[in-house]
């Protein structure tokens, strides 16, 4: 084919045809991943969408078309509104707390010190147990009369003998948020460590030559270089925490008086305790839209800011 190329104009045509062909064959690379997830996640998502606009019995049998009726029911439920507000607090507090703690922890773990690999392993430990088990263990830890938290605090001379930590919504929610932070730290620290180790040492050496203090190299080099990793950590944590079910379900079941219900526990109750799969599906679609809106908006904004910064 190369032999026939006589003019540049003629040359470009067949070549671009070949390139498009090759680009199409490149689809082979992503096809397996698309097929796998489309098969396994696609169908259930379709089911949820369908149930959301249908009248459904408690076993998912469709009785008729409902249109937006299920969405209306969701919006008219004061507990949905309350759960939405609590989901906002839950997500912001857990993700915010996680990021704020994970940055210094990652910076420390990136230093060269004695026993660093032991420290790293310990920090990752909460990740080694499923959320359901972690939640169960913490429910025992914070038990008023028999829990080890009150035992330890009392032994330290603090007035927490038999203190009932889960008895008010505020205190129970705080404990749940702290547990949520604890289990999100390993994942986040790992991402940040990845970011920190990708910063070339030469940058710091150059800064030191220019007489920068440690604080200056932290704020001028480390933190800006961490930004893309921060962005990944925030987006993924928001998604995971927003949808995180076991901690709240096992520790308080959404109580007292729905004071710790978040949207995912609301959906679970609607679907499996109350037998309202259609209402649950409508609420799930709303949750999906909220997360989609957040992700798109956040990624768009940070990309803009990133572009403006450069």
């Amino acid at each position: 084919m190369e032999m026939t190329q006589t003019t540049p104009a003629q040359a470009s045509r067949p070549q671009s045809g070949a390139r498009i062909g090759r680009n199409l064959t490149n689809l082979v690379f992503i096809l397996p991943s698309v097929l796998l997830s489309l098969t396994i996640i696609g169908y259930p998502i379709f089911e949820v969408m369908r149930m959301a606009v249908s009248d459904v019995n408690r076993f998912g049998k469709i009785r008729g078309f409902e249109g937006l009726g299920n969405f209306l029911k969701v919006f008219q439920d004061p507990i949905f509104i309350q759960s939405s507000y609590q989901t906002l607090i839950w997500t912001v507090a857990v993700v915010g707390g996680t990021v704020l703690i994970a940055i210094p922890v990652a910076i420390i773990l990136n230093e060269d010190f004695h026993g660093r690999s032991i420290a790293r392993t310990i920090v990752l430990l909460p990740w080694a147990v499923s959320l359901a088990m972690t939640a169960l263990v913490w429910r025992f830890v914070v038990n008023g009369d028999f829990g080890t938290l009150n035992l330890a605090l009392t032994q330290l001379g603090l007035p927490f003998n038999n203190h009932p930590w889960l008895a008010t919504a505020a205190s129970a929610f705080t404990i749940e948020i702290l547990v949520g932070i604890l289990v999100s730290i390993p994942f986040t620290v790992t991402i940040f460590l990845g970011g920190l180790t990708s910063i070339p040492v030469t940058l710091y050496e150059a800064a030191a030559m220019d007489g920068a203090t440690r604080w200056q190299s932290l704020t001028r080099i480390t933190l800006p270089m961490l930004r893309p990793f921060l962005q990944i950590a925030i987006v993924l944590n928001v998604i995971y925490v927003f949808n995180s079910f076991p901690i709240i379900w096992i520790m308080t079941n959404g109580g007292p008086a729905n004071g710790t219900d978040i949207l995912i526990t609301y959906v679970y109750k609607q679907a499996f305790a109350f037998g309202k799969l259609d209402v649950a599906a409508a609420a799930s679609v709303l949750m999906f839209l909220v997360l989609l809106g957040f992700s798109v908006l956040y990624l768009f904004m940070t990309r803009q800011r990133g572009a403006a910064g450069q």
Binding site: N23, L36, I41, L124, L131, G194, L196, T197, I264, S284
Partner: protein, 276 residues
């Protein structure tokens, strides 16, 4: 040396609040797992058991089939890690290196697959696997987990691939190597650490997954470790804390070993970006 010692002390001091909070539940688990059942709810709560009692651990393996559950979990986690790598590697390579039509759509699609919690999808997932005749099949979980955790693997791998200089591969092509050959000989070895870290993420997520395993694996002998623990203890009137704590402790061990042994990889893997 003394400077490093001083720095070490400072680092450990800075980490100590977090380390205490992390280790506290483990102390609780150990304390409770070594107690007899009738020692847990006593008038005076104590840290130490009356005597070291290993009966809970023996009970777990001898009578409750926990060993089998650990093996099931290992099978699923390894399987899910392999399958998700198998589909994520080419996808991430394509995103990083090749021209593919619809790249942006694919990225958005990956994000969308992550936005819905499996709990919400449980009924649909169960119907799907029932239709495929894969209820009570460990492989169903291998595919389900790899489908859910694949997106993250693609993102991770792609960001590693982006840090590997293109010139290295191009040099290989110049030497007449085919694209596939250069991928295997040059590219893959360079990104092995990144693959190790990605595998860790997938493995851990799969190891800990509860809702899907619970729903799809119904037979006692097929249950995974997290589900088994819930089953061991879910009688109507009482929670067997001594058994729960022993089981949780045991379930931590394999992952903790993976963490510890992957440590050096984790550092090298993550520092790969420094090559840039």
């Amino acid at each position: 040396m003394t400077r490093k010692a001083k720095r070490s002390a400072l680092c450990w001091l800075g980490l100590s609040p977090l380390l205490i909070v992390v280790l506290f539940p483990y102390a609780t688990m150990l304390s409770t797992a070594l107690k007899r059942k009738d020692e847990i709810f006593q008038f005076e709560t104590t840290w130490l058991p009356d005597s070291l009692y290993f009966g809970n651990f023996i009970e777990l393996f001898a009578n409750r089939g926990f060993g089998r559950a650990l093996l099931n979990s290992l099978y699923i986690s390894f399987g899910a890690t392999l399958v998700s790598l198998a589909v994520a590697l080419p996808a991430a390579y394509a995103l990083s290196r090749l021209r593919v039509p619809g790249k942006g759509t694919f990225r958005t699609y990956l994000l969308v697959t992550q936005l819905i919690s499996p709990i919400v999808l449980i009924v649909g997932l169960f119907r799907l696997f029932a239709y495929l005749g894969m209820i009570n099949d460990l492989n169903a979980l291998v595919f389900a987990h790899s489908a859910f955790y694949m997106a993250f693997a693609v993102w991770m791998l792609q960001s590693y691939f982006d840090t590997i200089p293109k010139d290295l591969e191009e040099a290989a092509w110049m030497d007449g190597a085919s694209r596939l050959k250069s991928f295997r000989r040059v590219f893959l070895p360079l990104c092995l650490p990144g693959i190790a870290v990605t595998s860790l993420f997938t493995f851990v997520n799969s190891w800990n997954e509860y809702a899907m395993s619970l729903t799809i694996l119904r037979e006692g002998s097929l249950q995974t470790a997290p589900v088994k623990i819930a089953f061991l203890t879910g009688t109507l009137y009482e929670t067997e804390w001594n058994i729960i704590m022993a089981a949780t402790l045991v379930a931590t061990v394999p992952v903790a070993i993976v963490f510890a042994s992957i440590q050096s990889y984790l550092i090298r893997g993550l520092s790969l970006g420094g090559v840039k």
